[in-house]
Symmetry: none
Subunit: 330 residues, 2 copies
């Protein structure tokens, strides 16, 4: 059946031979005990046949729900994303539903995950730490804000972590301590956040005499520890005295590897400042990206965008170097 | 490209030069191993170019539910809940929307948070680690499954962690190592999960000669470390040789306090087996509650309940003691 224009609840009611309010009850899941199962079936058949889509904003006037905010993130088991999520939840409050759209497998999302978010007809979307292919293929269908995608990304409102400052702060700190031999470890990843962390560090350590880099295929700190236990001896022999990690999880792996190798006096720095970095021994020097604050800011900006129609400006959350025992002279 | 009327899957298929079912597979994330990466790229490009929006509401109306599963949890920044959430997300797949309903302030939820979840007209609700007042006031309005609320809770389907086995495993392990003086540290909390952890341990250590218990007002490992630094000397002087913690986060605090006090040879055990327990030094002996598995099982049971109408049975996920350096003789 082909129809002109948008299908309304009235069309569905006509087609099913019932009242508009019966359609509304079925569509909003309020029909139990109010209308017969036969009528419900007839309404659903008409809805399907006419491809009727209940108008969410009309419905929200009735239910008092001012809309769903879809949050797309790589992996809720990573504590950094947990922090961002907690900040987002606090900012959205109870006026909005926070729909979490996760990759159906693995620990990162792709374009299909984003399409799934838009298919929910949300009032707004937040994409956290997206990869390049996601950004390249992005066609925003509602106010869409990106958290942590520095660089040449589509002209979307963003809340960025200060990944460039991170690389510079770490380079300056280690250079001031007299280090001249460096190893840099990051994940194998197409994400702008990791590209800029790495570039900012490498651009800044101009005084390096030795410089190794390594991309690890895995996030798991224990897998990193195993790999590093075989890589580190060569690095240290060639003059590396400081190891910089694109993420604290990798930093824990390096500390574990050094411990197993019985090597001390090697400086280790992470990025992200997970809570455990204060507790491991040696405590891990790291850059605090203020993930919770980034989540709060993203939530506030998106809500203001939705209610005023004005696109928020880009924002960057300041980063801070937390100096701890892992970069003290051993 | 401008088109009249609504873009359909057929339009996308025509544009990409493929079948409608290929479009459906890609859009629903079911294409892995079924169509080539090249075709997948072509479909995604057509989807983007035509601004095709898969009709989610029609699909969910056909399946007879609103498609939304509300998950209520205390704090997404706690890695244990992140694990449960990852398991739930994997089980729900892309047929259902995972709406995350969080406390609007603080790190725990109350009855109002649960009412907010029901107000979204979800197909099902999952409550994770609820407190007693939440359980007492609960009036389920749709299939509602509780994760981690052992004891005399309302007669709802549950997936429990084996908190009783945890207390017993730890008691047996420490007693076999010759310990007779114990300290037990838990959070100040009304939650059944913490009451049973504590009771199971205390009921089992019948051979204890010295037994202290302490409720900490705070979850933060560093706050725990500060408190424990002043409490531990008294405990150790009175004969405590092993400290049992209701959660790994508190265990990290105890390890840090012992380190600062310069005391070694004290056994420490946690519960929850967070990833960092393998990495801290000494690595923390802990009970693995298999949070991700609990989340998966909860998601699967709830979906089966919703689709068949049959209430799932209670389930309990087996716990396992992970023995590490923190309970080796120092």
């Amino acid at each position: 059946m082909v129809r002109e224009g948008r299908v309304s609840a009235r069309d569905v009611a006509e087609h099913a031979g019932c009242s508009v309010s019966a359609v509304s009850l079925v569509v909003n899941g309020k029909d139990a005990g109010r209308i017969s199962p036969e009528l419900r079936e007839r309404v659903l058949a008409a809805v399907t046949e006419l491809d009727y889509r209940p108008n969410r904003s009309a419905r929200s006037l009735v239910t008092g729900d001012s809309g769903t905010i879809c949050v797309v993130l790589p992996d809720p088991a990573n504590p950094f994303f947990g922090d961002v999520l907690a900040g987002l939840g606090a900012a959205l409050g109870d006026e909005h539903t926070l729909a979490l759209v996760l990759p159906t497998s693995g620990t990162d999302y792709d374009q299909r995950t984003v399409l799934r978010a838009y298919s929910l007809d949300p009032a707004g979307v937040v994409l956290i730490s997206p990869g390049e292919p996601v950004l390249r293929g992005l066609v925003p269908r509602c106010p869409t804000l990106v958290v942590d995608a520095p660089g040449r990304t589509p002209p979307l409102p963003r809340v960025d972590l200060d990944t460039v400052a991170a690389g510079e702060l770490i380079s300056d700190h280690l250079t001031a301590l007299g280090h001249r031999g460096f190893g840099y470890i990051g994940p194998k990843s197409d994400k702008p956040t990791f590209r800029t962390r790495r570039e900012a560090f490498l651009d800044r350590v101009t005084g390096a005499e030795v410089l190794h880099t390594l991309d690890l295929p895995d996030w798991d700190p224990l897998a990193a520890a195993v790999t590093m236990a075989s890589v580190l001896p060569g690095w240290l022999d060639s003059g590396v005295t400081a190891v910089v990690c694109a993420d604290d999880l990798l930093g824990y792996g390096v500390l574990t590897a050094l411990d197993r190798l019985g090597r001390s006096g090697v400086a280790v720095v992470g990025m992200g400042d997970l809570p455990f970095s204060q507790l491991c021994r040696p405590a891990l020097t790291s850059v605090d990206f203020a993930g919770r604050r980034a989540g709060e800011l993203a939530g506030q900006s998106l809500l203001s965008w939705i209610s005023t129609g004005e696109r928020p400006r880009r924002a960057r959350v300041p980063a801070k170097l937390m100096v701890r025992a892992s970069t003290e002279k051993g």
